[in-house]
């Protein structure tokens, strides 16, 4: 594996700002991004990713391979929580195990974007349908997580939970809704629509991402500090799950015969964990689960691991595999 890849990845402004934020927390600087701004930056990113993805989709033809990739992506999002749950249940209460499992079944949009930047920087192409894959991977994990909690511990889920509620949590969740809505609007309005919004959602995207990652660095370092007190097992899980799931993603991509670019994106989707949509849904529907477990794991461990080490690592593996066969 090529250490240059890791270095190049680390030396990009988004990653460096993430590290600057983490440093600010560790050195106890009083740097802070106002909460409403941070929330807006994340709305902006979802809005921009959605529109961009929708526009890409409007150009791509629906081949059977594309459909297969989408189905497989949704499938992994539904299956990953299953084994994660049973492994986590050995040590943790049902509610916590289910919430963490759902978190790891789902995806991190910002990890995905970082992988896209990585591919762009190396001039490697990838399919426009991968954003759709990402958008479709949020909901199945939420549904499976809730069902697991409800099956193994009735009291752990919110009383008002019905099947209707279930659909609602997984699709009307603000992050999922904005992402899917923007995707559909991008698809419906095609090139004409894209031309009007492009100067707002495309050109400044990377810069906004830097500021967002600065904030994520601030937060991730705080969460990591919180997590230390809970013991090291969960930290290990957060890294092992990332790598194992990414390998699964790579394996599946190989079987489907995708391009190396699509393979990296699939690896990153399968290997990443949600820290916006799923935590918000879990807080509502599995209130017994402790948010200071599932959030810090995905935000403080898996996320930094993936964007700093994971992406170049997975890509090195993909290069090796795609070459040999």
């Amino acid at each position: 594996m090529n250490p240059q890849l890791i270095l190049d990845n680390v030396l990009s402004p988004p990653i460096l700002f993430f590290m600057l934020g983490a440093m600010a927390t560790l050195l106890r600087s009083d740097l802070e991004i106002p909460a409403s701004i941070a929330r807006f930056l994340s709305l902006y990113l979802l809005f921009a990713i959605g529109l961009h993805g929708g526009h890409e989709l409007s150009h791509s033809t629906l081949t059977s391979q594309t459909v297969l990739v989408l189905l497989v992506a949704m499938g992994t999002s539904a299956i990953i929580p299953l084994w994660s749950f049973f492994i986590l249940k050995i040590r943790l209460p049902v509610a916590d195990a289910a919430a963490i499992a759902a978190t790891y079944g789902s995806v991190s949009a910002v990890t995905f974007i970082t992988a896209v930047s990585f591919l762009n920087a190396m001039d490697i192409s990838f399919g426009g349908h991968m954003v759709a894959a990402m958008a479709l991977m949020e909901s199945p994990a939420i549904v499976v997580g809730i069902l697991l909690a409800r099956t193994f511990d009735k009291r752990s889920t919110s009383d008002r939970l019905s099947l209707k509620e279930l659909g609602r949590e997984s699709v009307l969740n603000s992050a999922v809704f904005l992402l899917l809505g923007s995707l559909v609007i991008g698809l419906l309005t095609g090139d004409d629509g894209w031309d009007t919004v492009k100067p707002f959602v495309h050109a400044p995207f990377k810069g906004v991402l830097c500021l967002f990652l600065l904030d994520m660095g601030l937060i991730a370092a705080k969460r990591l500090r919180d997590l230390r007190s809970t013991g090291v097992t969960l930290i290990v899980f957060a890294i092992v799950a990332a790598v194992v799931h990414a390998m699964l993603g790579i394996g599946v991509a190989r079987l489907l015969g995708t391009s190396p670019g699509d393979a990296l994106l699939l690896a990153v989707l399968v290997g990443s964990a949600s820290y916006i949509a799923v935590p918000a849904a879990m807080r509502l529907s599995i209130p017994q689960a402790n948010p200071s477990l599932y959030l810090p794991m995905s935000l403080g461990v898996t996320f930094p691991f993936n964007i700093i080490v994971g992406i170049p690592l997975y890509y090195a593996i993909i290069q090796a595999v795609w070459k040999t066969t």
């Binding site: 929330r39 209130p287 959030l295």
Partner: protein, 97 residues
């Protein structure tokens, strides 16, 4: 001015709508909500800083008739049991206007 019960409830921002539904169901039509409140308690520090918006609290202030107080408390209790938070009750005078 008339005597009144002053309740203040700190709860997870995520569950504030449920709290408001619960007190409305008891016939309480007046309340005030302070958003983006941080804090610490049994469940650790809540910094109101994560992008999922699940680490913030809200504080809800309710002025209600002394007679209504207990039923509001009972409506609030199960939510605090599940989600954590706190509820303080004190005496105050309400300015009739």
């Amino acid at each position: 001015m008339t005597p009144i019960k002053r309740m203040e409830i700190v709860i997870d921002a995520t569950h504030t709508p449920d709290l408001i539904d619960a007190i409305r169901a008891q016939g309480v039509a007046g309340y005030t909500v302070f958003r983006d409140v941080q804090g610490a308690g049994d469940r650790g520090v809540r910094r109101n800083d994560d992008p999922a918006g699940i680490s913030g609290n809200c504080c809800v202030l309710i002025a209600c008739e002394p007679g209504e107080m207990m039923k509001v408390v009972e409506a609030v209790r199960p939510l605090l049991e599940t989600h954590g938070g706190m509820c303080l009750v004190s005496d105050a005078q309400w300015l009739k206007h």
